[in-house]
């Protein structure tokens, strides 16, 4: 354990320094991830107003709260490994990572966490700005917030392991943009980004209940908003735990067989 702490500490020192060099690009890339929830916030608030104030269980201020928290959750759980692996494997950049004495996933996790730490200096002011602009119905309870932090942490690792595993498809095909986009499209609907899950058609809701997307994004959001009963909260954590285990097992299996396929370019 101590060994890993030292390794991570070393990774953080380098990755923070590297990420800091790209702060301008990082902020620019963030615009899309802020604008998307704002757009759907406005769309749903417009729908609610047109129907006399409510859609399902949500009024415009609830939508504002939902999408501001969703912006934060998505910001802290998203990864870019699926785009990066294509390049790593095609260009042979993975070879360098394999030479290090630790599994390459650790440097990716450290890299991702450094990025999130740096970005939080932009994310939180943005969230406050959106709070002022949209006047959300968001109450703060310490206990809910503590549970939210747990759910967010599990969501981060769950999403990280799933997307890291999917990224490994690049071992078998170098054209994985199409797969990436399919995953992305599913996520758009099933993680509650286009609409809160309860506003989706029944069939889609049932699919969302099984697949991981909902538990990685919508669940922490609804938890923070105080919309879930105790029973729903425990069900959510159970699903998160289940997907965390499944994704870890898949990751190990896929990594082991993928690495055998890998023949570095130029070797």
């Amino acid at each position: 354990m101590k060994h890993y702490l030292e390794i991570y500490w070393a990774f953080f020192k380098t990755t923070i320094a590297v990420q800091f060099q790209y702060r301008a690009s990082m902020s620019i890339w963030m615009i899309g991830r802020v604008l998307e929830p704002v757009v759907y916030l406005v769309v749903w608030a417009t729908v609610a107003n047109a129907r006399g104030g409510m859609v399902g269980d949500y009024n415009p201020e609830d939508f504002a709260a939902y999408y501001i928290v969703l912006m934060i959750v998505n910001q802290f759980t998203f990864t870019w490994v699926m785009h990066e692996y294509d390049y790593r494997i095609r260009q042979g950049a993975l070879s360098v990572l394999l030479l290090k004495p630790v599994h390459p996933i650790h440097s990716d996790i450290a890299d991702n966490i450094s990025y999130k730490v740096l970005m939080s200096f932009i994310v939180f002011p943005t969230a406050i700005l959106l709070y002022i602009l949209f006047d959300p119905n968001l109450l703060f309870h310490l206990q809910t917030f503590a549970l939210f932090l747990c759910a967010l942490t599990i969501a981060f690792f769950m999403r990280f392991f799933i997307e890291w595993t999917l990224a490994l498809i690049a071992f078998w095909t170098t054209r994985n943009e199409a797969i990436n986009q399919m995953y992305f499209t599913l996520g758009l609907f099933l993680s509650g980004r286009i609409a809160p899950i309860e506003l989706l058609p029944n069939l889609v809701q049932q699919i969302a209940n099984i697949l991981p997307f909902r538990w990685a994004v919508a669940f922490p959001v609804e938890l923070m908003l105080g919309r879930l009963s105790n029973e729903q909260i425990w069900h959510g954590f159970t699903m998160q735990g289940m997907w965390l285990v499944i994704s870890l097992v898949l990751l190990k299996i896929v990594w082991r067989s993928g690495i055998k396929k890998y023949s570095a370019v130029g070797s």
Partner: protein, 261 residues
């Protein structure tokens, strides 16, 4: 006339380049169909809870989606890749090769790259637009069509000028290719009518990143809600933007120091 044959030449090169990678066609087709499916799915969910959004019926928003895909297709077919190439050329100093050619440099850099499979988006956009119009019973008058084409052109001119100005910034600031990402992110907001957004966002999408003129205004022409004011502003702004971006480009070019300088 000569310009047209040049455009055709660049298109042919684009086609020939891409024919070598035929699988790209299927990848692009799949990606375009996925984004069309996402867009229609999103519309279906929103309109399962309401009949109209900011005064727009579902079918009007479908027409808007058609315009969104069509204009987006044109941007990604030629404008975006050409402007990205310009920024790369300025950085590398390879713009010399373009400047020494006996044709207007702005014209050459504007059509230098053609990603031919992006025409799929353009065709899908037209198909969505036609579907929406047919579904409405083709209740559209001849003047409306003319106005639509007119504001589509002015909107296109505004978007083109905007891209040219963004790319021209590279003469002063070498490493700003990420600035193009800002446009792509903001463009996404154009798939809904600009009128539903709060004032500050509407202002940004109208004047800072002129998505409104390229998508919402033409779609308004199709559903007969175009005001004379919008038409006049579109025309005046497009002429101004074309002239200003031309001036800005020439101004930037003076700053260019070539390959080995």
């Amino acid at each position: 006339m000569h310009h047209l044959s040049l455009i055709w030449t660049f298109f042919r090169i684009g086609i020939l380049n891409e024919l070598a990678y035929r699988i790209n066609f299927y990848v692009q087709l799949l990606q375009s169909l996925l984004s069309l499916g996402t867009a229609i799915g999103g519309l279906a969910i929103v309109f399962s809870h309401t009949d109209s959004l900011g005064g727009w019926q579902a079918v009007d928003i479908l027409a808007l989606l058609g315009v969104f895909m069509f204009v987006g297709g044109i941007i990604r077919l030629v404008i975006q890749p050409s402007m990205a190439q310009l920024m790369e050329d300025v950085r590398q100093g390879t713009l010399d090769f373009t400047l020494t050619k006996p044709r207007d440099a702005q014209f050459l850099i504007s059509i230098s790259q053609v990603r031919i499979w992006r025409v799929i988006d353009i065709f899908l956009g037209i198909a969505v637009l036609l579907t929406a119009l047919i579904y409405r019973g083709l209740d559209i008058g001849f003047t409306d069509v003319l106005l639509f084409v007119l504001v589509l052109f002015t909107g296109g001119a505004i978007i083109y000028s905007f891209w040219l100005m963004l790319a021209t910034l590279t003469f002063w600031f070498l490493r700003i290719e990420n600035i193009l990402v800002i446009f792509q992110s903001m463009y996404e907001a154009g798939r809904w009518p600009i009128g539903i957004y709060p004032h500050w966002l509407r202002f940004v999408l109208t004047f800072l990143v002129p998505v409104a003129f390229a998508i919402t205004v033409p779609a308004e022409a199709l559903s007969g809600r175009l005001t004379t004011e919008s038409i006049v502003i579109s025309i005046v702004l497009s002429i101004f933007m074309l002239a200003f971006s031309r001036w800005f480009w020439k101004r930037g070019l003076k700053n260019y120091s070539g390959a080995s300088a």
